[in-house]
Subunit: 300 residues, 2 copies
Amino acid sequence: MTTEFTNWSHHRLSRVEQALERFLPISNDATDRLHTAMRYVALGGGKRIRPLLAFAAGETHQACPEHVTIVACAVELVHAYSLVHDDLPCMDDDVLRRGKPTCHVAFDEATALLVGDSLQSLAFELLAHPDLAQTSPHTRLPQVEMIRLLATASGSHGMAGGQAIDLANTGQHISLAELELMHQHKTGALIDAAICLGAMCGGPLEAAHLAALKQYARAVGLAFQVVDDILDATASSEQLGKTAGKDAHQLKSTYVSLMGCDAARQFAHSLHQQATAAIKHLPHNQRLLDLAALILQRTS
Amino acid sequence: MTTEFTNWSHHRLSRVEQALERFLPISNDATDRLHTAMRYVALGGGKRIRPLLAFAAGETHQACPEHVTIVACAVELVHAYSLVHDDLPCMDDDVLRRGKPTCHVAFDEATALLVGDSLQSLAFELLAHPDLAQTSPHTRLPQVEMIRLLATASGSHGMAGGQAIDLANTGQHISLAELELMHQHKTGALIDAAICLGAMCGGPLEAAHLAALKQYARAVGLAFQVVDDILDATASSEQLGKTAGKDAHQLKSTYVSLMGCDAARQFAHSLHQQATAAIKHLPHNQRLLDLAALILQRTS
């Protein structure tokens, strides 16, 4: 990555961190443990790929950074809630996340359940934030449409549906098409939401721009997952900050198990090319191009 | 209850049932089990007190029934999700709800987790429904404010926070003030949301009307809980359609354990009086009065 991109990214991530710090509830007597646990899972960790995608997409439509910060936090809170619930004993039963004990290990299962539930509510509270309504007349944000978009991406036709498909697939032999369908729901829907919401902070989108962004989102979302599968098969838990090798352990079909490592790497490269081709006519697309490269090259 | 109220109530409940039937996802191949389970928990059962309160509050402000139906469904979905998560083994570990096996018993824990998560997303999807935006000019609905209200009522400062307080209180000796604080969060916040959202379907509320509705909500919400505690201590599981006697079994403080049954009954009567006094100057308040009486007199 270029120094310029690193600076850009660092600046946006500290915006998101400060905003999450402000938006997350502070501890008080009665709900101390819940609020402490919410901050434990949502602050100070994670690659924050979705917030960066929201900022990069926002730049293609001259979005106001203060607005993008809010939608980036909302999407990141949905992502954080899904990890907390996904790590629970009845799901993946995982003990390590972002280099720390998972929420139900550090606190307890009941608290982890409520942390996920509360982070989801907070995400919608943020998208309904009055600050998002304060725009100049020519960029009135389609706030209700944005909320509907995040709700659809999160629910049973999006991310949660993807987790259900994942459950149904575990231990089954599935095709590449079925694997892609699962990932389109499980991670693709929220990555698409991050990108669309970031761009919508610049006002309602032209159909051609929306289509280009959605094609980009589909390709980088899938590339992210292919690289994830390669890393799960080849990297260590220390490197990843989460349990490595768990796909094979849980008998999950992955791009590596279905295609082999070399073909999976080639597939990731081809998705990267699709992503860059999709947005080549969008203005101010440099950060989206940088992020597509980062997703391909990441090692953790 | 009068025949007139029974007819009114029956008509609203069948509206809500039909709307939930329409809004809940239908089964398809990939997410079949999740969607079947969502319908299992959200259709065909429950007292639907919150939807009825939304309709009754809507009548005080000439709200359009089609709009109230949507917000009533959204609130009921949040309530249904909270029951599914509350029944999980890591929370109350309950096997019977609305006379049927609980979701994790009828399906499995992972599915029940995703059902709750998806029902919450769906609730916000409904409040962001385009049909809620289609109003005549003089009753433009404050849709974003309504979404923020439901999000706040559901999250860590509302319902989920109340469940965290409940966890912290279990097995502890707590005061009546602490018990009330817990219930204000755990059930009061969503009952308040049902009433405010129903009324807001008639357009933005005058401060005095909002204050009256909030006082009514606080009193009926607490009365509902006091009667719940009395029924848990005195009725059978068959009568309730859920496990009776579990408060004592789980060493939870209740109005019955702290005050005794007779004083709890008197307290419920005094809350009923507070509820009716709060709304005596509101127009078209008959259904709110009927519901306050129903909440006091219910036997299941």
